[in-house]
């Protein structure tokens, strides 16, 4: 019998709890980096998009300024032709005179319109075409 028992050397087992802690720390670092870069990327994209939109709007506003349509005044109105009321010279009745006077009164109103048209034609202004 061998009195010297074989002693198995003690096995140095690594501490299992420390390794996962290191791995977890590395994983957070990478995720943070991705987050930061993504944020920067989004900011850059937003700035670039905003700048492009700004440029487009500027061009459009310049074009609009150049091609503004002027307001064209309404065309002049032509004078209506005189009415064709015929007076019967032989009818001297009150009724006939009243009708004749009414016709003259209407014509005087039309004459006022004619005079307004004359005034308007004197004051007519040329549309700016330049």
């Amino acid at each position: 019998m061998d009195n010297n028992p074989v002693t198995t050397p003690p096995v140095n087992n690594p501490i299992p709890l420390q390794q996962p802690q290191v791995l977890k720390a590395k994983s957070n670092l990478g995720r943070n980096l991705v987050m930061i870069i993504s944020a920067v990327l989004i900011v850059v994209i937003l700035i670039a998009t905003g700048y492009l939109l700004f440029l487009n709007n500027t061009k459009k506003s310049v074009n609009t300024q150049v091609y503004v349509q002027p307001t064209v005044p309404a065309g002049p109105t032509a004078t209506p032709t005189p009415s064709a009321y015929q007076i019967n010279p032989k009818d001297t009745s009150d009724n006939a005179i009243t009708n004749d006077a009414a016709a003259v009164n209407q014509s005087l109103g039309n004459l006022d319109s004619d005079l307004s048209n004359v005034d308007q034609s004197f004051n007519d202004q040329q549309t700016n075409l330049q």
Partner: protein, 264 residues
Amino acid sequence: MKKIILIVFLGIMLTTGTAHALNNPLGTGANPAQREAGLASRAAVITQAQANISQDLKQRAEKEITRRINFLNELITQLNGIKKISSAEKADLQTQIQAQIDDLNTLQTKINSDTDNVTLKTDVKSIVSNYYIFLFFRVKINLLAATDRASTISDNMSQIYSKLQARINQAQAAGDDVTNSNLLLADINAKITDANTQITAIQTELTSLTAQGYPGNKPTLEDARTKLKTVGTDLKTAYKGALQIRNDLKGLKIKNPEASSSAH
């Protein structure tokens, strides 16, 4: 992990590169091919802008020419309705107005076919420079039409005057006091006479005026307008006098001479 970083980096490069290319059409700092493409892009923008200017000018010119042609056609219609000017004068005026319409149509055709903006602007400018001719016809025809109406009113007032005179004579024969009516009648006669004198003077003034003389002859047109306003005042006064006589006659012994009238 490295792959993700690489993808993100490439994404940033791609985005900023695209933005730079879009914002720098001239391709400054780019290679010759890109620069050439940028110049071509700029030339296209300029060409488009010129085309827009041309289109805008043509549209405005067309609108103005159409407005004038329509109004000149209305003037011809108005002219044909005037009774108290000679046929020869009417035909002469109509020919002149028609010539204006023809010129404007020719100008419209030319403007439509203009290909460069310098010529186009000159043609559009000619619409403005010919404006006096358009304005002259407008004023003259309006004055002629108004004078024609005034002349018709004056004729009608003369007939009413005659009727009132006949009624006053009847009332006087019946023994009524017609002193006031006779005074009013004399005033009506004076106003009608003055109106006719002014109308004749206006027609004489207007006949001799030509479009080529405008705006030099504008004072004559303005004088015709002043005379026309005097005519209007004369005729209104005469009308009021006629109404007064008619009302006075209603209070006299001879109320309504229907039976003695040979009317109808």
